[in-house]
Amino acid sequence: MNIFTKLGAFLLMLKGMFTKPENLKIYWKELMHQCVELGIGSLGIVSIISVFIGAVSTLQTSYQFVSPIIPRSVIAQIVRDSVILEFAPTITCIVLAGVVGSKISSELGNMRVSEQIDALEIMGINTKAYLILPKILAALIMIPLLVIIAMVLGIWGGRFVGDLTGILPHEIYDKGLIESFVPYNVNFALAKAYTFAFIITGIPAYFGYNVKGGALEIGRASTTAVVTSCIMILLADYVLAAILL
């Protein structure tokens, strides 16, 4: 199957999701369930990563700033912009591509192989709408929120480490944070978060939903889904930066 055939199949899968729900209440429940699974379930790992990224950014930026004529508050500006523009949306979503992507792919793959998807089809349920759409919608709701949390925690991590090590007192850090702040950067980060949210749920869902075979193929589908999602995130990151910045 070449890349265009796969792209066509992916688009047909997306088209197939949009039908009238058999029971809106059940779909709503499934959406809420996915919001908890994808959002709350990923909060721990996102928090840990964000705090450490912010902390390491502060340490490394400080290490590279040897000139006495540059004010120390610039370190905070650099950490702030790095976290908002790149670390919070991109690194968080690459990690989520592994965590969430492999989960979606293996879950759907297992359902396909054990005929659970066929069982739903026999009941007259549109499985694309019931199994895939709530996951994509939940990601579009929760991942931008996780990215915002990642921004806040990343910046806080930098502030905390600056204070802890004595490299940058929090008064100077706070001053640097509000200097030359461009609110557009947050919008740009959120645009990236929405794009990546779609990538890290849509692509694994495609690979999981179309698994044929057994346990080995489920594993392969998961790996392919995560690798493809990561590559697509990096590609989209570049395209969005080129277009929007």
């Binding site: 054990s114 066929d118 007259g124």
Partner: protein, 270 residues
């Protein structure tokens, strides 16, 4: 009643089902038998619409399934219950929720009415104490019974069972066979069962279709199968010496040559 006419299906240029025609009657257990790879499962998947046949007609009570639009197909599928080979229970749901799921999705009943129906069907399949268990916590036979309960919870008109006895011990197989037979008669539904379990053939096969390499090779009842002269069918059904002897005995019984109420203890003593 379901009737199929000249069903043909192939994959990657290889024909899997070749011009199969038959009728599956209401209120009867219609068995499709054949060796592994004979096309039974593909035929069943064509019948329920999981696979589109290359040609041929599938008529549900006179309505051509292949000509139906998506909404009509969805409507029809709500009248279909299916028991899968691996049971296909939803892993993340308890037994109770597995059975509640079709009711939640498609019925307007109150919570109490739904719960009553779940209790009814679980009682019908003799599983009164498995409500809160997960599929991973129950045995293969229990999974099949939950699968049957889920398939009948919406009072279907058609029941499809794909190898309901696979992986089960003979005693549990008998329980499942008996259950399928009872449900078919009780609800007067059209039941189609794919199997290669000879016990099922003799016990519940009101009508049997034997498939050989994708073609219909023989059709008849479980009474007629004893007297069949079809070599391929006999080689398949009565493969072992034990089964050949059993067939001979049954034929002699049917022809009145030996007493079918004979007392084996006395015969052995004499």
């Amino acid at each position: 009643m379901i009737s199929i006419k000249n069903i043909q299906k192939g994959f990657s240029g290889k024909t899997i089902i070749e011009n199969v025609s038959s009728e599956f009657e209401t209120g009867k257990c219609n068995l499709v038998i054949g060796a592994s790879g004979s096309g039974k499962t593909v035929l069943m998947k064509c019948l329920v619409g999981l696979i589109q046949p290359d040609s041929g007609e599938i008529m549900y009570n006179g309505d051509n399934f292949s000509m139906m639009n998506q909404d009509q197909k969805k409507e029809l599928r709500r009248k279909i219950g299916m028991l899968f080979q691996g049971s296909a229970l939803f892993d993340s749901m308890t037994v109770e929720k597995n059975i509640l799921f079709p009711l939640d999705m498609f019925s307007n009943q109150t919570k109490a009415e739904k719960q009553k129906r779940v209790d009814e069907v679980l009682d019908r399949v003799n599983l009164n104490d498995a409500h809160k268990k997960f599929p991973a916590e129950i045995s293969g036979g229990m999974k099949k019974r939950v699968g049957i309960a889920r398939a009948i919870v919406l009072n279907p008109e058609y029941l499809f069972c794909d190898e309901p006895n696979s992986g089960l011990d003979p005693q549990t197989s008998l329980v499942i066979d008996k259950l399928i037979k009872e449900i078919t008669t009780e609800y007067n539904i059209t039941t189609v069962v794919n199997t290669h379990d000879m016990n099922s053939v003799m016990e519940i096969g009101d009508k049997i279709m034997y498939m050989y390499q994708g073609k219909k090779e023989w059709e008849g009842t479980n009474q007629e199968i004893i007297f069949s002269k079809n070599e391929k069918l006999n080689n398949f059904i009565f493969a072992s010496d034990f089964l050949k002897d059993a067939k001979d005995m049954r034929m002699l019984e049917k022809m009145g040559k030996i007493d079918n109420n004979r007392n084996m203890d006395e015969l052995l003593k004499s």
